[in-house]
């Protein structure tokens, strides 16, 4: 197994009478991109916050590779700061000696290269979120914990984040991506973890999770679905014809991550 960027074992968190996390195990290897999915209130943000030390766990163990970067779901930078000043502050706090070269590279990565002297208060929400991503990458972190990093971004901004995640993979930075956008996870993540009600209810590569396929056959009485793949089509059609059905069309379907996600979450309820 590759060295670990994040190792979580038996993680529990209780808020009053409510169990936000009920024994979560999660390991992220160096350079691995893991998507964290789950409905609202599933415990995703709590898990991320515990990993970066903002929330104290009620039980379990967390080991995080340092340095790490974090982008909160709800964050703000002081409006009076310029983009460059935000990064300078975080360079000082992390002890980064990257200087102006690092700041320039990071702003370029998030497509804010022309906004060095722009004040935060003059930036759109999307620009602030991209600045937040740049801030999270200050000091060359080994692990990035991203909590809904695309929530305020337009499609172009989301594309920028996807490109950024690919660049991070190239650099060997591990990422925990907490998001509701399944398409992002499908496109960039090595593994997917679905949690619901504080428990991991499914985990695997996108291909493993999406694995199941089916055959949809259009009959006179409507569409019927059969389990199986492309190789099962001749047999299914032959059996239907032998049974006196008229076949008007056949389609091999493959369950999407969305199907898997919705089924998994529904099963857990």
């Amino acid at each position: 197994m590759s060295p670990r960027a994040l190792a979580i074992a038996g993680l529990r968190k209780r808020y009053g009478r409510h169990d936000a996390l009920r024994g979560v195990d999660l390991v992220i290897g160096e350079g691995e991109l893991v998507g964290l999915l789950g409905p609202n209130g599933a415990g995703k943000s709590t898990l991320t916050k515990i990993a970066c030390g903002l929330v104290r766990p009620s039980g379990g163990e967390v080991a995080v590779a340092r340095p790490f970067g974090y982008l909160a779901e709800l964050f703000r930078f002081p409006g009076w700061c310029t983009a460059d000043e935000v990064l300078v502050l975080h360079q000082r706090l992390t002890g980064s000696d990257g200087g102006a070269r690092e700041r320039g590279e990071l702003l370029e990565l998030v497509r804010l290269e022309g906004e060095t002297t722009t004040r935060v208060e003059a930036m759109s929400k999307g620009m602030q979120q991209r600045l937040g991503l740049a801030q999270a990458m200050v000091g060359s972190p080994r692990l990035l914990l991203l909590d809904e990093p695309t929530s305020a971004l337009d499609p172009g901004g989301r594309r920028t984040v996807r490109d950024l995640l690919e660049e991070l993979r190239r650099r060997g930075v591990a990422v925990l991506l907490n998001t509701h956008l399944l398409s992002e996870v499908e496109q960039v993540c090595d593994r997917v973890v679905i949690i619901d009600k504080g428990l991991v209810v499914a985990a695997g590569t996108p291909a493993e999770l999406e694995g199941g396929s089916g055959v949809e056959v259009e009959l006179a009485g409507g569409v019927r679905r059969f389990e199986g793949g492309r190789e099962d089509v001749p047999r299914i059609v032959a059996e239907l014809v032998a049974a006196g059905e008229e076949v008007f069309g056949v389609r091999v379907t493959r369950s999407t991550l969305e199907d898997v996600y919705l089924d998994t979450v529904a099963d857990a309820r």
Binding site: C52, G53, V55, Y70, A72, F75, W80, L89, L93, Q135
Partner: protein, 284 residues
């Protein structure tokens, strides 16, 4: 300690860039101008009281009273400044999302808290000292009255503002900025009221009122420091003038004793430790 310094610098930079300090300085200059005007008018009006033979030193009476008034005003403004700079330091900034990106850095919550305290305490203490020494200089230049112990009073006033900054920081761990700000100003007002009751208790005399004031002094030592600063201001004014200024609303008849300063230091350490302890256990 570098993290403390970075956070303190950032907080001071924010106060400068958001023009908080500029507004405060402009208003202070206006205050100084009005104070000088009032001083000039006051000492001008004293001409009728000079050379009287009832033992009243009109210059000392006027000088100590108006400097006492400036001390009250300076400390009040210093307290407001300290409160504004710290009221939202933890919960307020966390609710706005400003805190989280900072405290996940290899900084430590204790260092963050100390940095915020250092910035607010420095600004508030310097401001109180500026107003106090400004008032002393203006009063001396216009009325030729100089207090016997200007530095002892200055230290106590500045320390009072520092204590309020620490208390406000502690409150910020539990309360949002508005609620904490209101709480701090009400606590400050309650402390002053208790001090006034103590002055009345000393004049009547009333052991009950004295007990109330004494209890408030231990619970809220910034008030006791203020009273002690006033006491130092007027303690060497002799005769009937001394008696009058000590029993007046801006007088300092009550001697808090030698334990006040050590207790204030311990109190400050306890408040900061409590703030650090509570912040370390707070989920953000």
């Amino acid at each position: 300690m570098s993290g403390v310094w970075i956070v303190a610098q950032h907080a001071l930079q924010e106060a400068l860039r958001r023009r908080v300090l500029l507004v405060v300085l402009v208003l202070t200059v206006v205050f100084g101008g009005l104070y000088a005007w009032g001083c000039h008018a006051l000492f001008d009006d004293l001409s009728g009281f000079r050379d009287n033979d009832d033992g009243l030193d009109a210059t000392a009476l006027a000088g100590s009273t108006i400097v006492g008034l400036a001390m009250f005003g300076g400390l009040f403004l210093g307290v407001v400044l300290a409160t504004f700079l710290t009221a939202g330091a933890v919960r307020g900034d966390a609710e706005r999302g400003l805190l989280q990106p900072l405290v996940v850095r290899p900084l430590g919550r204790g260092q963050y808290l100390l940095g915020r305290f250092l910035a607010a305490a420095t600004v508030a203490a310097l401001y109180v000292l500026l107003v106090y020494f400004g008032a002393i200089l203006i009063t001396g230049a216009i009325g030729d009255w100089w207090p016997a112990h200007p530095f002892g009073s200055a230290f106590r006033l500045a320390f009072g503002a520092v204590l309020v900054a620490a208390l406000s920081l502690l409150g910020s761990v539990f309360l949002g900025a508005t609620a904490n700000g209101i709480l701090m100003l009400m606590a400050y007002g309650a402390g002053l009221l208790a001090g006034l009751l103590g002055a009345i208790g000393d004049a009547i005399p009333s052991p009950t009122l004295q007990h109330i004031a004494s209890t408030a002094s231990w619970v809220l030592p910034f008030e006791a420091l203020y009273r002690d600063a006033l006491r130092l201001l007027v303690q060497d004014v002799p005769g009937v003038t001394g008696a009058i200024v000590q029993l007046g609303p801006l007088g300092g008849s009550h001697d808090a004793g030698p334990l006040l300063i050590p207790w204030a230091i311990v109190y400050l350490a306890l408040v900061l430790a409590a703030a650090g302890w509570a912040f370390a256990r707070r989920d953000l």
